[in-house]
Every structure is written in C-alpha cells, then in structure tokens.
Amino acid sequence: MIPVPVISLRIIGPAAVLAVTGFVLMLLDLLPPRGRREHLAFVGLGGVVIALIATILLWGSDTTGFQGMAILDNLALFGTLVIGYATGLVLLESIDYIKRRSAESGEFYILVLFAAAGMVIMAGANDLIVVFLGLETMSLALYVLAGFFRTEIQAGEASMKYFLLGAFASGFFLYGIALIYGATGSTNLDKIGAAVRAGAAKEPLLLIGFALLLVGFGFKISAVPFHMWTADVYEGAPTSVTAFIATGSKAAAFTALLRVLLESLRPLQGEWGWLFWVLAVLSMTLGNVVAIAQQNLKRMLAYSSIAHVGYMLMGIVAGGGLGGGSVLFYLLVYTFTTAGAFGVILLLERGGVEAVGVADTAGLAARSPLAALALALFLLSLVGIPPTAGFVGKFYLFGAAVRAGYLWLAVIGVLNSAAAAYYYLRIIVNMYMREPEGVPAVVMPSFAGSLAVVVALWGIIQLGIFPAPLFDLAQSAVLPLLR
C-alpha cells in the first residue's frame, strides 16, 4: 500500500501564502476595472504582509515535512523574512513606475509573487530537488520580468541573456544533483550529510557534483566568474525588477547555499573553503574595479552587487555561527540598502525618459534635497560608513573573517571597500557638488515609491544603530545547523 503523504501546510506556510496570493491575483486580473491594475499590487502587498506575519509567528519552529523535503527552521524563516521585505519594497516601488512607463498589467504583479514564492521555497528546501524546484519557479518568473518593457531593445537583451545563461546554470545545477545522488544515494540534504560523514567524502563524484552545484549557485548570486550576465540584465530590466533580482533572488540563493554547505558538506569544509575565498577575492576585486568605470547607475550597482557578494562570501569562508550569521544579516542589510537605492533611482526622470546615467544625478540635492539625502544615505551604507547598517554588516563579516584566521582576506576586503568608496562618492559628488547640464533630472511624485524609500531608510538606520536583536536572530538561524 502506498503511504498517504502527511501534508502539513504549516511547513510551507509563507510560500503557500505567496503562491495563493499569486493565484488570487490571476483571478482578479480578469475582473474589472479594466484600465487600472494598481489594486492588484495592493492585494499582493497584503499577501506579502501576511507571509511576513506568518514568518514572525512561526519563528522558532524546527520541523521537516513532505518526507523531509521541506523544512521550517529559523534559517528558512530568516531567508523568508529577507525575501518578504524585498518583495514588499519591490511591489511598492513598481506601482507608479510601471504605470509611468505605460507597461502596467496584472501579469507583472502576478509574476513578482510567483517569483517570491519560488524564492521562499528555495529558502525552506531540505532536498536538492526542492532547491531546484524553487530555483526554477523563481527564475522563470524573473526571466519574463526582466524583459517586461518588451518594446525596448535592451529589455529583450536582458531577458534573453538571463534566460540563456540561466538555463545553462540550471543544467549544471541538475547535473550536479545527479552526480551527488550517484555518490550518496540521495538528494535529501540530511542524508547526503550522513553519507558524507560516513565516508562518501572521498568520492570524486561527490566533489565534482558539488562543484557543478556551485556553478548554479554562483550564477544566481552572480559571483565572479559566473557574473557575465549581471550588468546587462540589471541595465535592461525594469529598475524595480533589477532591485528584485539584486536582493530577493540573492537572498534565496544564499540561504539555500548556506544550508547545503552547513547541513551536508560541513565535513568537507577543508575542501571547499579555498574555493570560496578564491570566489570572494575575485568577486569583490573585479566588481569594484569594473564599477569604477561605469557611467550608468544600474550597471554600476550591478558591479557593486558583485562586489558585495564577494564580501558575503567572506562570511561563508569564515564559517561557524559568526560567519553564517553575518552573511544572513548582511543579506538583510543589503536588501534594504539596494532596494532603497534603486527605489530612489527609479523615481528620477530627465526629459521624459528614465534617468539612469551617473551624470543625470548632477545637482539633484539643490532641487530635491530629500531624494538626494535618501540616495546619499543608501550609498553611504553601501560604502559602509557608520551609523548606517552597511557599516555594521561589514563589521560582522570582517570580524568573522578575522576570527577564523583569514586576516589577509579581511585586509583585501577593507582595501576593496576603500576603492569602492570612490565610485559611490562620485554620485554624491554629482548630487551635491555639481550643476546639471541641460535639462535637469526631476523626481517623479509617487506615494508608494516614497513609502518604500522611507521603509528602506528606516531599515538601514535601525539596523545601523541597534543591530543586536536582528543579528542575534541571524545567528540563531545558523547555530542549530552547526550542531
């Protein structure tokens, strides 16, 4: 007799809420009023808020379900928290933005919610197949979203490039799963972990499989050398989608990566430790160096995001509760900072078109002091200047690296931060110290967009001055996996 699977919806609660909200939006999309679609965004936002509340209520759970394929523990919940914030901010930022670009349609919000559901599934996956399931749900939605301004040539390039390279990465990922299955006889993370401890570690198949898996993850987090798509996709995608790709998809991939590393492959840390510091050094150095040369804000932030992935990989190299906790904390910080920065940028228009050039920000402080101040604070957080959250986040990451004995890695990290200051400050220089040439950029009015910026600002200040509570949560999300 086939056993009836025990289905506990609680375990996939937040993901289910997001997915169901997506379905509700699909239905609502068919109903009048025909011309306006912003109510869909608010319903979606409601779903996100419910998912966030559920996340907070479920905090402290530690159960698996669906035959051990899904897991609900603090790590999954922390990942969900970050993804939830990212989704909420992105929805708020999108409402007036896509309307202004006359691309408003119900599919946009529906896809955002399905992508979010996929991300949350990744964060709560306890089985490589489920990781893949979440990854694909998220990616397919994001491929479409990246090309959402379909009349624009860059949008097509972004979507196509993201899709093709993403498909390759998925192929690697799947092949990796297959090899790991061959080596250990399971795709379940606990069982792989048990097999590794039992001696499968020496199996070359496992190492190759893991390396292939890493290619897939490296692509999603855009670590060098798997970063080639990043700048073009960030540039061509709608700016709010860029924010989503930069924050939500990275949070999901990092959470899943942390779980795979800590739960299944911790005995092999000696084998993969060096791999990650190579990736970290490459990512932060290349990201920062190339960012210096960028004249487009979105491309600049794309390379900056590669650099930030490098910093986060330092936390993975360091390992332990401090290392893992600081990666999670940084994900949250990075989400607020980056979503906020993109949130300000997408409000800018110059002569009727989106203003995304570094030069477009010239003189902004004189005309829109509040928008300029907000963007300046986000940029300072990216530099890592106290009292913004960016500083505390880096402080924990560098601290973890130093503690684990990677003093030289921390030194490379801080030298990179100093170099990065140059290109972030260039925008502040433009906003505060230069006069615009020709038609100046203006800030488009948007209540929802401003609200998103305010929430993100609150996030970076709160986390910058009182980081302890959330860092403790982040650390408590990782510690159980280390037992």
Binding site: A365, A366, P369, L380, I385, P386, P387, F391, F395, F398, G399, V402, R403, L407, A410, V411, V414, L415, S417, A418, A421, Y422, L425, R426, V429, Y432, M433, R434, P467, A468, F471, D472
Partner: protein, 504 residues
Amino acid sequence: MSAVLSTVTFLPLLGALVIFVLPRRSEALVKVTALVTSLIAFAASVPLYARFDAGTAEYQFVEQRAWMPAFGISYHLGVDGISLLLVLLTTFLMPLTLLASWHSVERRWKEFAITMLLLETGMLGVFVALDLFLFYIFWEAMLIPMYLVIGIWGGPNRVYAAVKFVLYTLVGSLLMLVAILALYFQHGSATGVFTYDLPVIARWVVPGGRGQILLFLAFSLAFAIKVPMWPFHTWLPDAHVEAPTPGSVILAGVLLKMGTYGFLRFCLPLFPQATLTFAPWMFTLAVIGILYGAWVSTVQPDIKKLVAYSSVSHLGFVVLGLFTLNQQGIVGGIIQMVNHGLSTGALFLIVGMLYERRHTRLITDFGGLWKIVPALSVLFLVVTFSSIGLPGLNGFVGEFLILVGAFQVSRPLAVIATSGIIFAAVYMLWMYQRVIFGEVTLEENRRLTDLSAREWVILVPVLAFIFWIGVYPVSFTGKTETSVRALITQVQTKAAATVALASP
C-alpha cells in the same frame, strides 16, 4: 552616573535635527539656531573643566551602558587629562567657526549648519569614546560631514580635494578596523573576555613580537594619515586650500588632533613594546616633517597654503613630543595640540577675513595693510607670534616642553628640530612682512575696511587663550600631568611585561 558627556556630544546632533525641520527661507533663524546650539554645547562643556579632578588618572564623567552585549560592545564615554582639553577645544572653536561663516558661506546655509553640527558631534565622540567600536563609529562618521564641507562649500578644485581627503583617510582607517577586530579576538581568546572596552583591553598585555608590531602599524597608519605625518601629508594642502574658512579652521583646529590623540590613546598604551621599537622612526619622521613643512611653507605664494604646510611642521612637533615618552614631551605635545588649534585656527580665520575683503589669498596681492587696517594687522601679528612660539604666548610653552623632552632622548634630532622654530620665524615673519608692511602697491587695498564687531568677537576669545596659556600654562598643563604620568608608567611596565613574557 551623570550624563554630561552625552549631553555635550549629542547636543549638536539635536541642533542639527531642529535645523532640519526649519524652513529654508528663514536663513537668519537657521544661523542663530546653529550658533546658539554650539554655544550651549560649549557652556555644557565648561563644567567638565571646572569639575575635573586633576589628582587622578582615572576616566571621569564616565557613562557606560550595554549596547551589543553579545559582542562586548558598550556605549562607554569618559574623559581623562589627555582628552579633556581637546573636548574643550572643539566646543570652543565651533561657535567661532560658525560666526566666521556668517557671510562667507553664501549658499545653502541650512545644509551647512546641519553638516557642521554633525561634524561637531562626530569629533566630540572621537575624543570621549572609550569603546573601540564606538570610537571607530565616530571616527568614520565624522569623515562624511568634512567631505561635504570641502566638496560643497570649497574652492574651484574642491571635488578633487574632497575625494582625495576621504580616500586617503578611509584606507588608513579601514586597516585600523581590521586591527581593532584582530585585537578584539586576540584579547578575547587570551583572557576569555570578548570586549571592545578600551580600559579593559588596556589592562591586558598584548603579546610582543610580530603580532603587536602589525597591530601598531595598522593603527599608526590611520593616525599618521590623519595627523598628517610626512610622507602621508599630501592630502592636507589640497584639502586646506580648497576648504572654505570654517572647514579649514575645524580641519586644522580639531581634525588633525584626532591623529595625535589616537597615538596617545591607543598606540602607546596598547602596544608599548612596538611603540618603543618604533619611537626612533617616529622621531625621525616627525623631524623630517618639521623641516619639510617649514621649508615648503617658505616658498608658498598663497597664504592659506603656507599656513597649511606650517601645520605639517607644527604637528611634527606634537608627534615628536608624544614619542619622547617622557613627562615633559607628552605634556608639551598635548598642550601643543591645543596651541596649534588656537593659533592655526586663528590664522585661518584671519586669512578668511582677508579673503572676504579681497577675494584673493596671494601674498603679492597685499602689502602695506598696516596703515589701512591697523586692528586686523595687530591681531594678525599676535597670532603670527603665537604660531612662531614667542615667549609669553602659547606656542612657546608647548614647543619648549617638547624640546626639553626631546633633548633627553636624542640630542642631535632635538637640535635639528629646534632649527624648525627658526624656519618658522622665517616663513611666518616674511609672509607677515610682505602682507602687512611696506607700501600699498595695489589700489584695491586702499578701500579695505578694518575689523567689524563680529570679527572682533571671533578673534578676541582666541587671543585671550593665546595669552592665558602663554602666561599661566599651569591652568591647562595641570589638568594633564597625572594622566600623562600614569600613561608613561603604563607604557614602561607593560613593555617590561611584554619582554618578560617573551623571554622565559
């Protein structure tokens, strides 16, 4: 537990928040609010001096609250004889600086006031923080306001100067961050107490050898760039020349002292063995800085650039004093920090006043001012003498003590350093002569007006202190003696302990 230090430190921040909500149109209201805030902060800091107990080397007015207990980070403030005078110098200079900006800052006064007040909070925080993490926060946070002051209200080449200033400082301070982290974990794993609390860490003896030397070098680089010591000084002339008058006054008056203060507060007590190892090097660099600064000053055509390079020379004296590691040298160094803040601050104020009148700072554009603006000329003369170190004025006290200290350590270097005073007389007096004496060569100069009431109010308090310190320095040195003695004892005993640890 009193909250005097928190009040003094965060009053300017409060003022900045108030100004943030004030309407942009009412510029007068903004100006008055900023000035009043800085005056209240000064008034609030006076009791620190009055109630300071000079008989103990302990930190006073201590405040400590848990902040991130899991990491041993606390909100810990306090002052001792080393930081007290610098706190007072900061609160004293800020109202004068704001008053000096009254007309010279022509645009965006609201942003200017906010930036300056944030800067004040940052600087005060650096001097009163007793937790390494907290110290670092203030140290970095104050970078941005200064960057904005130079970059927004500065001269034609301001953006270059501002970015150079930030990048130079950032490289140094980020390496210091890594050193702070390394120190934290080293201390934690050795003693079992993970804390960023400075007094606690200072009780522990950092193991000698390569580790201590690296830590010392990382901290020293950050401070050497800030001072700035030769050869890390190249950002300073750019920053000073481009900065507006208030920026220069604060930069010279307070910001540069953060470097020398850092040496005293962190390098000496935490890394005594490395300090002893590197003292001869520091000594040599300081003497090179004294001579180099003086020589380069001599040939400057621009008064402001001249004063900027003279800072390199003067700060060389301070560093020389600190690394004598004896009582006279260090007390002299501390008092010289204050002196430099007053004299060079006043010089920049006067240069600013000249610039406001003539819109030029080139020495050759002046000449014969004595007959036209007698009051300005007299005050300028006093400040010039103070900067040279004429007996009876403040500069003499500091330089004399430093040289007494230096003679006990290395006679040849002390002799060379003394020649720096002679060169100072050369470049300052020569500059003064060309600007003030002689015939009026340019017609524009005949129309100059003498000091306004506002300018009298700015300069007189500074001159009062210049005379006070010159005539009766004990009011100020007396506050520092005990702390300095304790510091020297600490350096010696810990250095001995380090050696003892290493040898068995």
